[in-house]
């Protein structure tokens, strides 16, 4: 991959990742407003907005960040499994996406039932949504920190690859 294309892909990946943090923060704001606000149109609207943000912003952004990150890792010397920080980012992003997909049902329930049946019908769902959003925000922040700090550590696979490459260079 040429340097220009690599930088373009990196820009895209960073933009998508940071945007997903902002989108999750917006979801958290909506979920918190609904959790602590008095029942009314604003609270019902907050859950409807949270549902829209989830389906149209958060889900596409997280998927796109995961895909662009994977492509970038495979197309550059970093690799996907050679460095622990890359592997950690992959695992954490995949776990975040899995938890998000598992929460979609609850978000849909909140969005559709809040106005139809009232907040009492949601049980502990409002607290669960706010907690999951907080957790997602924390995990995405850790992923960002890993990208910046790139803590050292080669996996066994990465170490073997490095040895092979240095052995080839000597010849």
């Amino acid at each position: 991959m040429g340097p220009r294309l690599r930088r373009l892909l990196l820009t895209l990946h960073v933009g998508l990742s940071v945007a997903s943090i902002g989108a999750v923060a917006a979801f958290l704001a909506l979920a918190s407003a609904a959790l602590f606000g008095a029942e009314g149109f604003a609270v019902h609207g907050a859950y409807a907005g949270a549902g829209i943000v989830t389906w149209w912003v958060i889900l596409p952004l997280v998927v796109a960040a995961l895909v662009t990150g994977t492509i970038q890792a495979l197309a550059t010397q970093w690799g996907l499994f050679r460095h622990y920080w890359v592997l950690a980012k992959l695992v954490l992003t995949a776990v975040t996406l899995a938890v998000l997909i598992l929460q979609l049902g609850g978000i849909e329930t909140a969005a559709s039932n809040a106005s139809a049946r009232g907040l009492a019908s949601l049980g502990s769902l409002p607290m669960s949504l706010a907690l999951h959003a907080t957790g997602g925000l924390a995990v995405l922040s850790i992923v960002t920190a890993l990208s910046i700090f790139k803590p050292q550590g080669l996996t066994r696979y990465g170490w073997r690859k490095q040895k092979e490459r240095s052995g080839q260079r000597r010849r």
């Binding site: 622990y84 950690a88 695992v91 954490l92 776990v95 049902g105 609850g106 329930t109 909140a110 039932n113 019908s121 949601l122 049980g123 502990s124 769902l125 669960s128 803590p151 050292q152 550590g153 080669l154 066994r156 170490w159």
Partner: protein
């Protein structure tokens, strides 16, 4: 520190991070498990509470 093949030891941050993740996943699994009788009953979503109230469990 290296093992006998020369591979450097797994970094401490990886071990600690992996443990933290395993603990979180375990705690989440415990909190959401148990059906209608375990500790998960206090943390189920509104839709599953509705089905529990309907006597589906």
């Amino acid at each position: 520190m290296k093992d006998r093949h020369g591979y450097p030891a797994t970094p401490r941050w990886v071990i600690l991070g992996g443990l933290a993740l395993a603990l979180l996943v375990g705690a989440a699994a415990l909190m959401t498990s148990g059906g209608g009788h375990g500790p998960g009953r206090h943390f189920q979503s509104g839709s599953s509470e509705a089905s529990f109230k309907d006597g589906d469990s």
